[in-house]
């Protein structure tokens, strides 16, 4: 209002000057400065995430030779293939079983580490993190040798007890077990370290109060530890679910999807049909199929976290 009153007689003021002034004002705004400062990151994310995401959406609508728009044609084709549903099933089994065991083992190991006196704890923490810090492509190679049907350490050891030889990667059930085992071995330390941090943030006095209230160790875990860790458990599980669903390297190296596609998961099968089978649009469709599944899980878990976020 005041501006308008002042400007009315200001006819003499040139339009260019006014423009410059408003530009100056925009630049001076805090939000503008913030935007400019985050611009490099926004550009980077656009380049590395948004563009590929939309590009794969675009790809998924093309025919095999990428010449013609086929709409949902690729998806229709996928839904009619048994292998696709096998992959869906296997991805779910792989991700859910692996995450459950990672969480369980991580939780138990975190408790053990938490109870080690502070002096020795760092050493144990460091050692237990090793599986997680070795590049999985390399550690899986080591596992591949361990699983070798003829010369492996596992079968050699089991032979002493009269067991085996077990076709670790040759039989569908054992191959699924093997890839899940390696994934659990690789991922459990992440859970362990997250749960350990969460455990450390639970005040000792809550346990003391519970002990006086008459809770035994199981009740202390159920009524104190777990509720206090719920948010960390939820977020870690969600994060791990996403990463495990999208796993590629372990399956690729250990079984390459075999035997007879019985260990393929979304990422490895997308690679098989997309890159090895030279049908990039179909591969893109396979990998896109994960998105809605994970999005639904993420919405539910994050909503729960948000609801309880203000409690602690």
């Amino acid at each position: 209002m005041a501006d308008a009153v002042v400007r009315q007689p200001g006819v003499a003021r040139p339009a260019s000057a006014r423009k410059r002034a408003s530009l100056h004002n925009i630049l001076r705004r805090k939000s503008t400065a913030a935007f400019l400062m985050t611009l490099p990151l926004i550009l980077l994310i656009t380049l590395l995430v948004v563009y590929p995401a939309f590009y794969s959406l675009h790809l998924a609508t093309l025919n095999k030779s990428m010449q013609r728009f086929v709409g949902f044609g690729n998806f229709e084709f996928l839904f009619r293939r048994d292998t696709f549903w096998l992959v869906v099933k296997q991805s779910c089994i792989f991700a859910i079983t692996a995450v459950v065991f990672k969480a369980l083992i991580g939780f138990i190991v975190a408790h053990f580490v938490h109870n080690i006196p502070a002096k020795g704890q760092r050493k144990w923490r460091g050692m237990l993190l090793v599986p997680w810090v070795i590049p999985p492509a390399m550690s899986t190679l080591a596992w591949l040798w361990l699983f070798d049907p003829s010369y492996s350490a596992f079968n050699y050891t089991l032979a002493f007890f009269g067991i085996g030889p077990i076709p670790w990667t040759g039989d569908a059930a054992w191959a699924r077990f093997a890839v899940i085992l390696v994934n659990v071995w690789y991922g459990a330390p992440f859970f362990m370290i997250m749960y350990l941090a969460a455990l450390k943030s639970v005040p000792d006095q809550l346990y003391e109060a519970a002990a006086i209230d008459g809770a035994n160790w199981w009740q202390r875990i159920w009524y104190v530890t777990l509720p206090m860790m719920r948010n960390i458990i939820a977020i870690t599980t969600l994060f791990s679910l996403i990463v495990t669903f999208a796993n590629f390297d372990i399956v690729r190296i250990l079984t390459a999807g075999g035997p007879l596609d019985h260990t393929h998961i979304f990422a490895t099968w997308a690679f098989r049909v997309g890159i090895e089978g030279s049908d990039i649009p179909l591969g893109a469709s396979v990998s896109l199929f994960m998105v809605p599944i994970l999005a639904v899980a993420a919405i539910f878990i994050l909503r729960d976290v948000n609801k309880r976020g203000n409690e602690a």
Partner: protein
């Protein structure tokens, strides 16, 4: 309800003895306060009674039974922690009823007990809230409520008011006293605040360096301290300790404070101290309220002297005056209308009828 007894209780951490052989008898219904500076072993003692710390030596008895190896949940005690230790994911009612639910009490009884405790503590309106939605004072009430609903043999309080502001602390102190008057459960209360100890306790246990210095009613500790530590710890401002020696002058026993200042002792005091060797290094212990402005009519045993005040602190109902006697800082309490001013000379009166005489080396009150 039950009595509690500690017999030669020791707590060792590696090489350090935190508690060095404590003997203590707490009667049924009694409100005992353990008080002392940080690191004196008072909290450790409480935690040993609770069963949260193992005892290294000695016996702890609750209701006549030795509970050394009994886990906390089976000792039938309730504890209120300094930081409340409320379960953040439970409502006030759930927090209070947690112990009862674990013991599978009937639902109706749990509800009745929680309602009764909430009414007693005036937190009925808060019963469905989560701890995060409560103020510090309200959380403290809930923590007390959690203890009350259990109807335990013993209440243990571990510095429950330390996290509250000064005004709320006074208010909650009165609340705790009221609650104890109603429920009459044997209570052991730990604090480092001597005012809390004096105001709440039936008997106060003053602890220092892992030992009990003195056990007594608040009045006993204030008027008849056994050691220099107790004399200095109880009372605010603290008791003055002035180096002195005894002299015989013309058949009367007198106490010499400085080269210039010496007073004859009142007859009762003279009789009490007459046997002491004159060579001992002694301390005159005198509370600030026994160092006041001089009057025209002084009672026997009250002696006057002139000094120059260093600093005065007007408190409203009284003025604290600080001055030096041969380099020893001394504090007195004078009437606000007595005209005490910073740096001004003043004639003060020393009430020797209320004096204490201490051995400087041993710290024992003679």
């Amino acid at each position: 309800m039950a009595d509690v007894a500690l017999r030669k209780v020791v707590k060792r951490y590696d090489d350090v003895e935190a508690v060095r052989g404590i003997d203590l008898d707490i009667a049924d219904h009694e409100f005992i306060v353990l008080v002392g500076p940080s690191g004196c072993g008072k909290s450790t003692t409480l935690r040993m009674i609770a069963g949260l710390e193992d005892i290294s030596d000695g016996d702890i008895m609750i209701g006549g039974d030795v509970v050394n190896d009994v886990p906390p949940k089976d000792r039938d005690i309730a504890m209120v922690f300094q930081n409340y230790a409320l379960y953040p994911h439970m409502t006030v009612a759930e927090n209070m009823s947690f112990g009862l639910r674990l013991k599978h009490y009937p639902k109706a009884e749990i509800k009745a007990r929680v309602t009764e405790a909430a009414r007693l503590l005036d937190i009925t309106d808060l019963i469905d809230r989560k701890p995060k939605q409560l103020s510090g004072g309200q959380r403290q009430r809930v923590a007390m409520g959690r203890a009350i609903v259990r109807n335990p043999k013993v209440f243990l309080f571990d510095e429950p008011l330390s996290n509250l502001d000064a005004k709320l602390r006074v208010q909650m102190r009165i609340e705790i006293k009221k609650v104890h008057q109603k429920v009459r459960t044997t209570t052991v209360y730990v604090t480092h605040d001597q005012v809390e100890a004096m105001t709440l306790a039936d008997r106060v246990v003053v602890m220092n360096k892992g030992r009990i210095e003195q056990i007594g009613t608040p009045n006993e500790l204030y008027h008849k301290p056994a050691t220099r530590f107790v004399a200095g710890f109880i009372g605010s401002p603290a008791m003055n300790f002035i180096p002195c020696r005894l002299e015989d002058v013309g058949g009367t026993l007198q106490i010499r404070l400085t080269d210039r200042i010496a007073f004859p002792l009142p007859p009762a005091r003279a009789a009490r101290y007459n046997a002491l060797p004159r060579t001992d290094k002694l301390l005159l212990g005198l509370r600030p309220e026994h160092l006041t402005e001089s009057h025209a009519h002084l009672e026997p045993g009250v002696e006057t002297f002139d000094t120059v005040l260093d600093v005065t602190e007007p408190m409203g109902m009284e003025t604290l005056v600080y001055f030096g006697l041969d380099g020893t800082p001394v504090c007195g309490r004078v009437n606000p209308n007595a005209g005490a001013k910073d740096g001004a000379p003043m004639r003060l009166a020393m009430d020797l009828n209320n004096m204490h005489l201490l051995n400087e080396e041993s710290g024992v009150v003679l």
